[in-house]
């Protein structure tokens, strides 16, 4: 029974960890987008 529990924990643990990593990638990309848009805006305001 313990083995069964361990196996299922591993299966869903791995899937969950992968989904989390996908989520992390997504939020870091979103942050990058924010930084770039800030820079663009500050450049535009400087040019004006």
């Amino acid at each position: 029974m313990g083995y069964l529990f361990a196996a299922y924990m591993i299966i869903w643990g791995l899937i969950f960890a992968y989904t989390l990593s996908l989520g992390k990638r997504q939020s870091s990309l979103a942050k990058e987008i924010d930084i770039i848009s800030e820079q663009i805006q500050s450049m535009e305001s400087n040019n004006k």
């Binding site: 029974m1 083995y3 069964l4 299966i11 992968y18 989904t19 996908l22 990309l29 990058e32 770039i36």
Partner: protein, 236 residues
């Protein structure tokens, strides 16, 4: 570049579908199917173990197809699909390689058996880790995509040869009746177990497509952000 990185309604529907399939599968596995007489309750690992294995193979087949398409059409969307699929394939293969020994330990008191399918899965794992390492290496994206596509083709072609070689090797060294134990189909599968197995496989297929959509969206987003950064640098 008309890359789609927005995950709309269909993605959410797929997500909920996957969730419900998982719930139904778990119900079938734990409540409906009888405990196997010989192997005991640990046998229930088998449903997701096999589901994971088949879908890993499917994922790698998709890598193979999209690698060919990329080399022929040079459309970056194929490359994005290939990477996402390879990653999911590695995750599923890892699941197979970890649940296999757990089953082995409880059933035959051996953490690892050099059994054909498990050993082939191990080599498969290494091949696609190699694919991911090529992608992680330091090159321009065009080169990276091209070279990993080439390796994606070579890796997949190798798989049947690996399987044959390991099977012959195994029958000469360990002429044991492990084949029956690992997938149960030799020992006569109860119909209810068969249905549960098929359901589990489809559940994992839904999970595969759900994770694939996420992976594709992230890949496209990554490419778009890089493109914006390059344009930005050039504009300065």
């Amino acid at each position: 570049m008309n890359q789609n990185y927005l995950l709309g309604k269909r993605h959410n529907i797929l997500g909920w579908t996957t969730f419900f399939l998982v719930c139904i599968s778990l119900y079938m596995i734990f409540i409906v199917t009888p405990t196997d007489v010989r192997l005991g309750i640990v046998q229930k690992i088998f449903y997701f173990h096999v589901a994971s294995a088949w879908n890993a193979f499917f994922a790698f087949f998709i890598v193979f197809l999209t690698s060919i398409m990329y080399l022929v059409k040079r459309d970056r969307k194929y490359d994005v699909i290939a990477v996402a699929s390879a990653e999911i394939g590695v995750i599923f293969t890892t699941i197979v390689l970890t649940t296999g020994p757990i089953w082995g330990r409880s059933s035959w008191n051996a953490w690892w058996v050099w059994e054909p399918r498990l050993t082939t899965t191990l080599i498969l794992w290494f091949i696609y880790i190699a694919y991911i390492m090529i992608r992680m290496s330091d090159m321009e994206w065009e080169k990276k995509s091209r070279l990993s596509a080439v390796f994606g083709i070579i890796g997949f072609i190798d798989v049947p040869i690996v399987f044959m070689a390991i099977r012959w090797w195994n029958t000469k060294l360990h002429p044991v009746v492990f084949g029956e134990g690992t997938d149960q189909t030799g020992g006569g599968l109860d119909t209810i177990m068969l249905y549960t197995l098929i359901l589990s496989v489809f559940t994992f297929t839904a999970l595969y497509f759900y994770l694939l959509q996420k992976g594709i969206a992230i890949g496209n987003m990554r490419n778009k952000v890089d493109e914006i950064k390059d344009n930005f640098k050039n504009a300065i």
